[in-house]
């Protein structure tokens, strides 16, 4: 895929970020990702991923979906070069799944996706205390083997929930764009707003 002049202009501010570059933008545009979570938790991440030019985004909603049809339409309007679909196709390649777990319903959907989906890389965010983001690049074990993500029961929502969701979105952006040459499997843990990063071998 070669970037057009209009694409270079549109994505210029992220293309010039060191280690993103034109190659990273091409990866973003070619990527197929799955975004799952409650409507309130994925609205902003979806907008940022659409804005960044992630080529195909399948959205799997959990919990209350009231009014989300309009929000999906609004997300599509942000970038005609991106395809946003609702519902997870059971076939086809998925380069990255971003699972945002802010409720019990979202955890169940995430568990379901993990149990059947072939996905190259994962970012899993827990928005309850203690907040965690599991970053699992391609070739790593799937989320159930990572301590951050799938323990049962969703507890009290953190005040920093939206902030954590946005940090998880940044981690997804980096993995898709190939920002790090050899990205580490990592767990980012939250103590209030501060983070503690554990790298896994």
């Amino acid at each position: 895929m070669t970037l057009t002049d209009a694409q270079i202009e549109r994505y210029s501010r992220q293309i010039i970020v060191p280690r993103v570059g034109g190659r990273g933008q091409e990866r973003l545009l070619a990527a197929r990702m799955l975004l799952a979570g409650d409507a309130r938790d994925i609205e902003a991440p979806l907008a940022y991923l659409v804005g960044a030019g992630v080529g195909t985004i399948a959205v799997r909603l959990s919990g209350d979906q009231d009014g989300f049809t309009e929000k999906i339409a609004a997300a599509r309007e942000l970038n005609a070069g991106v395809s946003v679909t609702v519902g997870d196709e059971s076939e086809g390649r998925v380069d990255l799944a971003l699972l945002i777990i802010g409720s019990e319903a979202a955890r169940k959907v995430a568990d379901e996706i993990v149990s059947y989906r072939e996905v190259r890389a994962w970012v899993v965010a827990r928005l309850d205390a203690p907040g965690k983001i599991a970053v699992i690049p391609g070739g790593s074990p799937s989320p159930p083997t990572v301590d951050a993500s799938m323990h049962p029961g969703v507890g009290t929502r953190l005040q920093a929930a939206d902030f954590i969701a946005m940090l998880a979105t940044a981690e997804a952006f980096k993995l898709i764009a190939g920002y790090a040459e050899n990205p580490s499997r990592a767990t980012i843990e939250f103590d209030g707003y501060e983070t503690r990063v554990r790298l896994h071998p």
């Binding site: 209009a6 202009e9 549109r10 994505y11 210029s12 501010r13 992220q14 293309i15 010039i16 970020v17 060191p18 993103v20 902003a44 991440p45 907008a47 940022y48 659409v50 804005g51 960044a52 030019g53 609004a74 309007e77 942000l78 970038n79 005609a80 983001i133 970053v135 005040q159 920093a160 939206d162 902030f163 946005m166 940090l167 979105t169 940044a170 981690e171 952006f173 980096k174 790090a180 580490s184 990592a186 980012i188 939250f190 209030g192 707003y193 501060e194 983070t195 990063v197 790298l199």
Partner: protein
Amino acid sequence: MATERILIVGLGGLGVPALWALARAGAQRLTLVDPDPVELSNLARQVIYRSRDSGTPKVEAAARWLIERFPEVNVERHPIALEASNAARLVAAHDFVIDATDSPAAKFLINDTCIAARTPFVYGGVVGMTGQAMTVIPGETACIRCVFETPPDDNEIQSCREAGIVGPVAGAIGQMQAAEAMRAWRAQRPLLSGKILTYDASGPGRVRIAAVSPRRGCGCGAWKPQRRDARSRRESQSPGK
């Protein structure tokens, strides 16, 4: 809470997530200041603007978006740059200011104007994969001049035009700025008053919060002579010391 008047200066990578988060949280009186029109290169990270908004003043496009999505929000629009000639009047009409600008000169102007008006504000900045935020309570906590003293020279500045910027990094800082405004309007002490948050996404996302002390000699009035605690007083008074 609904009557709190919040001034957002800058409707770019920081101002957009800040106004979105504020509207979601129930803010009803927002004033938007930005002199620029929407450009194609904004759309990747300023995720309320659409292609058809290109050329439209950002304040108009943002206000239209707000009114469509959050009709209860009262939006005041100023398609102008914040300058010495208008800053005092604009700041005086508000309870809290969000500095979402990308120019050091504007940041120091907001700092100085808010200190003079005793209006709390939250500073934000993003370049490349890193961002910062800090809340200033005038007369109580360190201000921008306590930390940086003077604006950097133009040739020292890396703007997002040169260093680039990634949408979700700016989104996180803008959301944090909105959260500080929300704490203020709920009569809670903002988390970042007297503290600076740094977010470094160049590796696995690292967020740190560090205390910032007022600087002696800074004109903001936040520096106070330290009271010695009882123990140090006893030690200094004890014989042989």
